[in-house]
Each structure stands twice: as C-alpha cells, then as structure tokens.
C-alpha cells in the first residue's frame, strides 16, 4: 500500500498537499484499493464554500457509491475536470490525480491531520 511522504492524511483516507496557499486534495492508495474499479466521480463547482468534513462530491465503484468528505475548510478554487471523463485514473495513480484545490480558511486545521507515520498506523489497523 503506497503512502507518500510530505502529505497530510485524513482518517477518511484522503491526502492533502500544500502548494503555496492552495491545498490539493485526493484519495489515497488504500482508498482506491478498497473501492475497487472507480466508474464515476462527481465534483463540486469552483467557488463552493466548504467546512471541514462536508461532503464535497461522490465517488462510485462498481458495487457502491461513497461520499467524498473534505478534510479542511475553505473555498474550492480548482476542480480536476479530467476525472469526470476518466474516473479510473484515480485507481491507476491516486496520488497523481488530485480532485479539488482548496483555498484554506483556517490553516490550523492542517495540524489536526495525520502525518505519514500516523497514517501508516491507521492503515495497518484497518487492513
């Protein structure tokens, strides 16, 4: 199970990567593996305001539909439209395919997320 250094992780198996003031969000290798073949992704519109843990979209595998929950509060400034046409890309490269970019409203929230080591522990517990 691939886990990258330098990212923040949520207990929901999302990753957060800071690029300047923007937080890019996607799902982890653990998440895509549990879901199986992803056949549909629904993402929010740009400028949507989100609070931590709000549902920001839907991700569907062959067998089930899942909510996507935002690990940090803020405004959506970018949406990866390519995933709408090619949702399977998330299975192929979960870390290379971000879903949304958020302009953070409260940077302190990042401290509530996990680092690589903590996320590794979570994964071994949930496996």
């Amino acid at each position: 199970m691939k886990i990258l250094e330098g990212l923040f992780y949520s207990s929901d198996h999302e990753w957060v990567k800071m690029e300047g003031e923007k937080a890019y969000v996607g799902i982890t290798d653990f998440a895509q593996s549990s879901l199986g073949d992803i056949v549909f992704i629904e993402l929010p519109e740009v400028d949507t305001e989100l609070s931590k843990d709000d549902v920001f979209g839907t991700i569907e595998s062959v067998k089930a539909a899942s909510d996507l929950n935002i690990p940090v509060s803020g405004k959506v400034v970018e949406v990866n439209e390519e995933l709408v046409d090619n949702p399977a890309a998330v299975n192929e490269d979960p870390y290379g395919n971000w879903m949304v970019a958020i302009e953070l409203s409260d940077k302190v929230e990042l401290e509530g997320l996990m680092n690589t080591k903590q996320y590794e522990e979570l994964c071994s517990k949930e496996a």
Binding site: V39, T58, V62, A65, S66, D67
Partner: protein
C-alpha cells in the same frame, strides 16, 4: 423505541455517510460514519460534528464503537465457507459476507473479471448454491405441482429454469430442475433460500410418494463461462463436450480425474458449463482448471462480476427482480410460467393477475446523464413515485449506465421519460428494451 447500538442511516445506498447511533439513554448521536460491502454494515471510525453535551455519552459511544467492531470480526468467523475458502487468497480474493457465506466479491477487479468472461473465460466458485434430491414414484407429480414451468417437456438429463411460487403468485425462489429419470429429479436453488425452499417443499409434499433430501452441504459446484470455456474444459476430460447440449447434462464426466455432473447451463449470458462434484474433489478441480486455462485468459471470478454479467444479460436475481412480493409475471419471466398446466402452486393467482392486466412490470432503462442507478433508488414520472430500481450498474460491456426497474405498468412503454432519484436529485432516464446485451448461448 430504539435499542442501544441500533444504527439509523441518514442516506440510503451511500458508503461513508453520517449515521445516527442510539445510545443507552436513547439520544441519537451523529457520530459514526459507516461503510457497506455486500450486505454488511461496519463502523470504521469516530468522526463528525460532536455536540456539546457529549461528555459521558462520547465515552459510551466509543466503547460501543469498539464492541461493534469486534462483533463484526467475530461474525466473519461464523460465516459459512465452501471448500475453496483457503484458495481465494492466492488469487487476491476479497472476501465478503454474502447471505451468510464468506465469498470473494472480486479477485483482480470486477471490470477485468467481467470482461474476461465475455472475451475469454471465467471460473466461479458457486458451491454455496443449494441442491435437493427428489426421489420416488411421485417425483414428477411433486415437481410439476411445485414449479410454474412445464416439467413434462424434460427428457432424461435435460434441465429447465423455472420460478416456484406461493399461493398468491409471489415468488419463493427461481431454480433449475434437472430430470435424471422419471422418478428422480434434482433441484438447484439459491444459496440464500436453501432452508426456506426446503421447508416449503416439505410442506407441499402432501401424501405423494416422494422423498426429499437437502444435499446442499455435500455438493460443491464450479461454473466455467465464456467463449473459451468449452475449449479449456475439454483439455481436462475425455468426454466430448459437444455432446452436452444447451440445458442438458451428463452425470458421469471425469474432469481431471474427478467425477462430476456437468451441464451446459450458466448465469452470465455466455456459453459455458456448471460442474457439480463432491466436497473432496473441488479444490483439485479449481486448481487444475485455472492452470489449464491460464494461457487462454481464464480468470477466477467473484460475486461482483457475477452480478454485472447476469444483469447485462437480463437474468433476474432473487432479492432484486424476484421476491415473495413480486410474481414472475411482474418480473418479466412469464415465458417460464405455463398457465396451461393442469395445476401448480400459485396458478390461480397468476391466471387472475394476467387476466386483469399487470399493474406493475419490470422495464429496462438508460440514464440520460452520467449518474449511475442502483438497487433501491426510487423511480419517478414527473413528481410522482412510480416504482423502484431493482438492479442498476455502469454496465462494463455495453458501456452504458442502465438498470431494471419495477414500475407502475402504465408508464412501461419504450421511450417513456422517467426520473431516477439519486442522492436527492432527480436524474432523467428513458425506458429502453431489456435486451441490453445479445447472449452468446451455444445452439
């Protein structure tokens, strides 16, 4: 009144939604997210917005959460297993709870497995299915009365598919009837209905001279399906498989040195065989068939692809298209109901239902927007609820988002515009022919 630990979902059909869990003092706390896999709910972690007065309740909830998690693990151990359970891991099998059985929902991936069956071949462990021996002077009379299809057409070693009904026309199960002889029949029934079906059969024996034996736990079964199924299986047997015609069986086939009954039947819409044997030989059979077919693209197939394959081929699933509240006529399998038969259980009710015109029917539909319809989603005509989706998928071979729905018959015409409610949004769809995929049965 809620019991402690009772889970009240907030959204149907979505994984990882917020749920409310009842605590000891009957307050509902929105604390947990849950996931679904197969039919099992399990709690993955504490999360969500915690209300101010949580305090002690939070601790209770945490203890409850931990005990629920332990409960799930124990239950997995209590699940029934086929002789092949230990083999799944070697092929990457992801095991879930299916009707009380520990079975693989997938190996390599549902879409790859689905495509393997359509283009090459796939091997399924279907040992969980049930089998009943029907033996005696009145065996024919018993079966003919029990099922809706006409068993008198069967020659020895011939098979038919039929629903089995309650007096009110609702469906007990759908099954295969094998005729081994005038006084010996073999019924193959759904895993989730074994006990219920056997009890129903015993109850309806009357004074007939017939003996019923539930041999489910003694019989193992594999299915090999796909355009290359025959070619692969032929490598392992001296029996000329060309001699086993569509919906016929051979009771004495040696496959890889293991004695089997083989029928040209299946649940995928492709050519293929179902292979019945005892529990001793099935592990060797599984391994040998997979080895023999590897170079031809044969893959092990899980329940996930089993469902997408049968759905695309418009084959019904008991629990989705059929149930005690849905008659075979409403489910669209009237072809297998012979109302001209002298008598069978449910005949009067079905004759009446047909004469009055069906109030509900099962239709095919296609989404007009990208969303995916699923089992249980509501169907609307304008603002009026007219029915429910029985099965829906993003179909892997046909490459369309399609479904089957049981709806008010007056909306059932091809081309009718309907709406499917998907997560509180009305998404447009259109009624289309149920023939989503052209089956490739052997002639």
């Amino acid at each position: 009144m809620l019991t402690e630990g009772e889970i009240v979902p907030c959204h149907e059909g979505t994984k990882n939604s917020q749920v409310k869990i009842a605590l000891k003092d009957e307050t509902l706390k929105s604390l947990f997210r849950y996931s679904t896999e197969g039919e099992r709910y399990y709690i993955s972690k504490l999360s969500g917005k915690i209300t101010e007065d949580c305090g002690v309740n939070l601790i209770r909830a945490a203890v409850l959460f931990l005990s629920l998690k332990i409960l799930r693990r124990n239950t997995m151990e209590q699940l029934k297993k086929t002789p092949l359970f230990d083999s799944y891991g070697e092929y990457g099998g992801k095991v879930i709870d299916f009707a009380g059985w520990a079975l693989p929902v997938q190996f390599e991936g549902i879409i790859q497995e689905h495509e393997a069956v359509r283009n090459a071949a796939g091997l399924f462990d279907v040992s969980h299915m049930g089998e009943v021996d029907v033996i005696g002077k009145d065996a024919f009379e018993f079966v003919q009365n029990l099922v809706a299809n006409d068993v008198s057409v069967l020659a020895d070693n011939q098979v038919l598919y039929t629903p089995m009904c309650y007096d009110d026309g609702g469906t007990v199960d759908d099954l295969l009837v094998y005729r081994f002889g005038g006084e010996q029949y073999y019924l193959v029934i759904n895993a989730g209905n074994i006990d219920k079906d056997f009890e129903w059969m015993q109850k309806n024996k009357g004074s007939l001279d017939v003996n019923l034996k539930n041999v489910s736990s003694e019989v193992s079964q594999l299915a090999i399906q796909g355009p290359k199924a025959q070619m692969v299986l032929q490598k392992l047997t001296e029996t000329d498989l060309d001699n086993i015609k569509f919906f016929y069986c051979d009771r004495n086939v040696m496959v890889s040195g293991v004695k089997c009954m083989v029928s040209r039947t299946g649940y995928t819409g492709e050519d293929g065989f179902e292979i019945y044997t005892d529990n001793k030989g099935v592990v060797k059979l599984w391994e040998d068939i997979l080895k023999a077919g590897k170079e031809d693209g044969l893959k092990p197939i899980g329940l996930g692809a089993r469902d997408t394959l049968r759905f695309e081929a418009c084959l019904p699933l008991y629990g989705n298209e059929l149930s005690k509240d849905v008659s075979p006529l409403e489910a669209g399998i009237g072809f297998f109901v012979k109302l001209g038969k002298d008598h069978f259980i449910g005949k009067e009710a079905l004759v009446k239902q047909k004469a009055e015109g069906l109030k509900r029917k099962t239709v095919g539909f296609e989404m007009k927007e990208r969303s995916i319809p699923r089992h249980g989603y509501e169907v609307f005509a304008g603002e009026e609820k007219i029915g429910v989706v029985t099965t829906g998928y993003s179909a892997p071979t046909v490459k369309k988002n399609i479904g089957l729905a049981l709806i008010d018959a007056k909306y059932g015409e091809l081309g009718t515009q309907i709406n499917i409610k998907i997560r509180n949004k009305m998404v447009p769809a259109e009624i289309i022919s149920k023939k989503f995929y052209t089956k490739n049965y052997s002639k």
